[in-house]
């Protein structure tokens, strides 16, 4: 479903833009349909940049990205807008990824109003929103609340509902639980796993926590200094890259 060939992203910096930071430096991999690919690495290794590149939220320096056979690196702005509903992103901080002046219900209804998946009547939209709210484990009374009235975990559920409203095929989840508590993190991660099965999603799951990536992914790619240094079966990667695992006395 996703095919990446020799992707590069250099950020120029310094006087006269002489120096450049090689955030993503010649990365190639593929993700099969229905697969969850984990992307793990220390902070600053370029994993977030790679995630953004895949959705063309930022422009690559060079290289190709294919999505379902289409080379999205070649698309113009209008074409990319048409393909965006098929690929979505879950950001790190749920509180800042929702419009603070929009009620939860309005936020989730927005993709339907824009007619991304055909036209809906107001009534249908309302029913769909309530259905999604229930799918992600929120209560109907949350519809009329604002993001600041909900907790981080609840807001991340809203973000998920909104993404499901768009009905994408591919989702990049960039540390979706970085700002959440341990028990809430467990709830959200399990929800993502359930939704993935239910909606047959393909996922790129970015995290610096090897333990979580192992739990979520089929295959894992390890990133270091902008390059993928290892890629393969989640269990094997977990065993080979113990340096990326936080010392966990609780494992014993």
């Amino acid at each position: 479903m996703i095919e990446v060939c020799d992707l590069k992203k250099y950020f120029a910096s310094g006087l006269l833009q002489k120096h450049c930071v090689k955030s993503v430096d010649g990365v190639s991999f593929h993700i099969a349909k229905g697969e969850t690919m984990g992307l793990v690495g220390e902070s600053g290794c370029g994993k977030t940049t790679l995630g953004r590149l895949l959705l063309r939220l930022i422009e690559p320096t060079s290289g190709q990205i294919f999505f379902d056979g289409t080379e999205i690196t070649k698309l113009n702005r209008r074409e990319i807008r048409r393909i965006r509903p098929h690929m979505q992103m879950i950001f790190q901080d749920p509180d800042s990824s929702l419009n603070p002046r929009m009620k939860i219900g309005e936020s989730i209804a927005e993709p339907f109003r824009l007619g991304l998946n055909g036209k809906f009547s107001r009534r249908e939209i309302r029913d769909r929103v309530l259905e999604l709210i229930e799918t992600v484990g929120l209560n109907p009374e949350h519809v009329n609340r604002y993001p600041h009235q909900l907790s981080g975990g609840q807001n991340q559920r809203v973000v998920l509902a909104r993404i499901l409203a768009i009905n994408p095929d591919f989702i990049v989840a960039d540390e979706p639980t970085a700002s959440l508590d341990i028990s809430v993190q467990a709830q959200i991660l399990n929800l993502i796993l359930d939704l993935k099965d239910k909606y047959d999603l393909t996922l790129l799951f970015i995290s610096h926590d090897m333990e979580i990536v192992r739990h979520m992914s089929d295959r894992v790619a390890v990133m270091k200094h902008g390059q993928i240094v290892d890629i393969g079966d989640a269990e094997r990667i977990f065993k080979t890259h113990q340096d990326l695992v936080v010392d966990s006395p609780l494992l014993i």
């Binding site: 220390e42 902070s43 600053g44 907790s151 981080g152 975990g153 609840q154 970085a178 508590d181 341990i182 028990s183 809430v184 993190q185 467990a186 709830q187 991660l189 399990n190 610096h208 926590d209 090897m210 333990e211 979580i212 192992r214 739990h215 340096d243 990326l244 695992v245 936080v246 010392d247 966990s248 006395p249 609780l250 494992l251």
Partner: protein, 311 residues
Amino acid sequence: MNLLNIHELNTYFPTTDGLVKAVDHVDLQIADSEKVGLIGETGCGKTVLGMSIVRLLDSSAQINGRIIYKGRDILGLAEEDMRSLRGREIAMILQNPTMSLNPVMKVGDQISEVIRLHQGLDKRAAKKRAVEILESVSIADAHRRANQYPHEFSGGMRERAMIAICLSCDPTLIIADEPTKGLDAKTKTQIIQLLKDVTKDRSMLMITHDLNVAASICDRVAVMYAGEILEMGKVWDVLKKPMHPYTRGFINSLPCRGLKPIRGSSPSLIDLPSGCRFCPRCDCATEACKIKHPEMTPADDGHSVRCFLYT
């Protein structure tokens, strides 16, 4: 004798929606050179408890109870006396170094400011001392780094700078509020090691929701939920043989324990359940749990728990 003795501490905040009981009847002791972990989720009151000890809360906060430090009740001290105690005797490592450090002040100056205030050293001597302290928290090239601003530091180095400020006046008790939050695995391990080294002869209250961090530093842990302490004991007793259903659920929601979450969410601190506060989310709850509020009950070897399963 205990260095710090917290007895029946209540910290309430009056709001238009009602009284927020952020800390409710908390008893906690910290002995000389002892490291105590305070574990709990966001909004359970653990930061407020830490802030109550150093008296850094908003004036609207209603604090009741006793906080005895070296035989003196902190809550009874005049603000002036408190100011000479805070930073010198009891120092706090605040949460989120990016927000806590002054962005328009050089890191070295932020450290020497504390030294000049508390130890009356002149500018030059304080600056020299600041560089030494930066070296002691393993910041390479400390001379140059002292003249840099916080934005020129990485996340891990900012955390080190926070620790340096806290250590600048050689405090007896350190209150560390989530010092490893937002750091990646490698940096986290380094910061844990650093904290271990610098607290060898000091006492520490370590506020965290990271059980691994607590396990690697603390002697004892207290588990906090909805403003009160539910379980307390030696760190390995609590983590290996957790008694309270909440502690068990918390441990099982770790990624290395299979990510099994506790159902539901924490109660609002304004409208607390009348019986056991964990009752609505508890799988072991009985009728009694809905009505009666359990008290802390000692089990064996310093382990105590607030649950009817053990009475």
